[in-house]
């Protein structure tokens, strides 16, 4: 009877996930350049959403200033490559270290002085805006003029993470897969249990021996470091970075759209949410241009988001899961069932 809990690792979600990624890999091999560049952004924001989702969906800590960490990663890669010709791999490591440290320091300061919940979220906005303004005036990192990577060549150079659009598509795909597998592994480890307990009720978690102070710092540092990796790749894909776009409030919001629409705290939510929201935004943007209605994309985007949050407050992914279960259920009436294990 106890065996039911021991070796019952369900491989079906992994299989489903693997199929999704095989499909996405085929998309990369076959699709046209426009679709490829759109999907690259979708996958990058899946990864960024995953990092944000880890922090709020599992760790219970709200960040509305994730652009800070994304920007630190992007600038680490850009400054090292553009100014010194150093490989982006080193830049990614530096970005992870910087963003992780800044995240940990911000969390430490905040929780040390009992600033928590929504007030911590406000602090993340303040920190991101502070960084944006600082980088806007800092000549060394290009100030408002930003930084431009060397003109792209079509030769693929793995050591410099340089290549064509298709190359970046596969980099983003690998990153998204890494993010999803990583989130799943973390949520099945002791960290996942401890963090979810802390998210649901901090006092109750502490009474069960969870050292919430250090776990909050840890989850924020990990989330920040992963966001920096996403930021570094985003910078390479865009070929240039500017403080207003890579560290602005707009980016912070873009990061959280995927997990909120897709399903907070779920493993596949950020992917599903990004798949739904980003193409919609681009579509409406194109439609707005052709109809000469500037801003149509923002309006449509807003309306759709309100509708999703109104009708599917848990997000799209949990609704899909419920739908699948509902479709399976009636079949149980007439299909022979294996005898249920005794309760």
């Amino acid at each position: 009877m106890q065996k039911r809990f021991e070796g019952s690792a369900d491989i079906r979600p992994w299989l489903a996930g693997a199929m999704v990624f095989v499909t996405l890999a085929l998309v990369g091999a076959l699709a046209n350049p426009y679709l490829i560049s759109l999907m690259t952004i979708v996958l990058l924001f899946t990864f960024l959403g995953q990092s944000w989702n880890l922090m709020l969906g599992i760790g219970g800590q709200l960040s509305i200033g994730h652009a800070l960490f994304v920007g630190l990663g992007a600038y680490s890669v850009a400054v090292l490559e553009v100014k010194y010709g150093i490989s982006p791999w080193i830049g990614l490591l530096l970005g992870m270290f910087l963003a992780g440290s800044v995240g940990a320091a911000l969390a430490w300061l905040s929780f040390r002085f009992e600033v928590r919940g929504i007030y911590f979220a406000l602090l993340t906005i303040a920190a991101a805006e502070f960084a944006r303004i600082m980088f806007s005036g800092w000549e060394f990192v290009g100030a408002m003029q930003g930084l431009f990577f060397p003109a792209p060549t079509n030769a693929i150079e793995f050591s410099m993470l340089r290549g064509d659009a298709r190359f970046y598509y596969f980099v983003a795909l690998a990153l998204a897969a890494l993010g999803i597998v990583g989130t799943e592994l973390i949520s099945r480890s002791y960290l996942g249990y401890v963090w979810r307990a802390m998210r649901d009720d901090e006092q109750a978690a502490r009474a069960l021996g969870v050292r919430t102070f250090r776990h909050k710092i840890l989850v924020i540092a990990i989330s920040a470091a992963t966001a920096a990796v996403g930021g570094g790749i985003l910078a390479l894909v865009q070929g240039s970075i500017f403080p207003d776009s890579i560290m602005g409030m707009g980016l912070s919001v873009d990061v959280l759209i995927g997990p909120v629409v897709g399903g907070l705290g779920t493993t596949f939510g950020p992917l599903v949410g990004s798949l739904a929201a980003i193409p919609l935004n681009h579509l409406m943007s194109a439609l707005g241009d052709s109809l000469r209605i500037p801003g149509l994309n923002n309006i449509a985007y807003g309306v759709v988001l309100v509708l999703v949050v109104w009708f599917l407050p848990d997000g799209i992914w949990p609704a899909m899961v419920r739908l699948c279960k509902a479709i399976q259920l009636p079949s149980r009436v007439w299909l022979p069932q294996p005898r249920k294990a005794e309760e």
């Binding site: 106890q2 809990f5 002791y190 979810r196 307990a197 009720d201 109750a204 502490r206 021996g209």
Partner: protein, 241 residues
């Protein structure tokens, strides 16, 4: 016999209100001690002081001879004191078993070890059959027992139970009493905060009575029930046993 927990001259005031006033008592290892008193007597405050959720204004709490009154709750738990909450606090999207697993992560990082410990805790409170249920499907008595199972998974030496029987029907309370007796027989020390006198008389081997924050009586259930000051605090003056 040594005292596992010793409370010495403990006081706590909130502004001008003295919730706990110079209370002392000691818990003998392997026994069930009850802390009783009418509503507002300071039982729960006293309990929170021991569990590290509040810091006393003055006085000492010694666990195995070491002072713990300024220790945060998570470290108090790691030293071997587990508590439950009066208002049950299950984690919402986790199963009953997963809820019980969280406590085990205070001493292990191994998920399957935590799982089997959690399962044992559920077994000892009679919830093993509902291990895979969601917590919102549990009845109130089951939720109270889940709170106890969560606490047991931390492998405590001392278990603090805050009104685990409040709101239960007599038959439900009787099964809780059997669970607690089983735990005490297995060597666990229990401090029970309760205001249902009858149950306390049945289960506790020692009773501490608080009234207006002060200790007014301490002894075996029989002695306490015969104490005129205790009767007075519960029923008012003029009543006699």
């Amino acid at each position: 016999m040594t005292a596992l927990l010793e409370v010495k001259n403990l006081s706590k005031s909130f502004g001008g209100l003295v919730a706990v006033n110079n209370v002392s008592f000691a818990l003998q290892a392997g026994r069930i001690t009850a802390l009783i008193g009418p509503n507002g007597a300071g039982k729960t405050t006293c309990f929170n002081l021991v569990a590290g959720a509040m810091q006393p204004t003055s006085g000492e709490v010694l666990f195995e001879g070491r002072p713990i009154e300024n220790t945060p709750p998570e470290l108090v738990c790691r030293m071997g004191i587990a508590r439950t909450f009066q208002i049950v606090r299950p984690m919402r999207d986790m199963s009953v078993l997963e809820n019980a697993m969280v406590g085990a992560f205070s001493w292990t990082r191994n998920v399957s070890e935590a799982r089997s410990t959690a399962y044992e805790s559920l077994e000892s409170v009679g919830l093993a059959g509902k291990a895979n249920a969601r917590t919102d499907q549990l009845t109130l008595p089951d939720r109270k027992m889940l709170e106890t199972a969560k606490a047991l998974s931390t492998r405590p030496k001392l278990l603090l139970l805050d009104e685990v029987m409040a709101g239960l029907r007599p038959t439900e309370a009787a099964s809780v009493v059997r669970v607690l007796q089983g735990l005490a027989e297995a060597g666990l020390t229990i401090l029970l905060v309760e205001h249902v006198m009858r149950i306390v008389m049945e289960v506790a081997s020692r009773v501490v009575v608080l009234h207006h924050g002060a200790r007014i009586a301490e002894g075996s259930p029989g002695e306490v029930a015969a104490d005129p000051r205790v009767l007075e605090s519960y029923l008012g003056t003029g009543f006699h046993a």
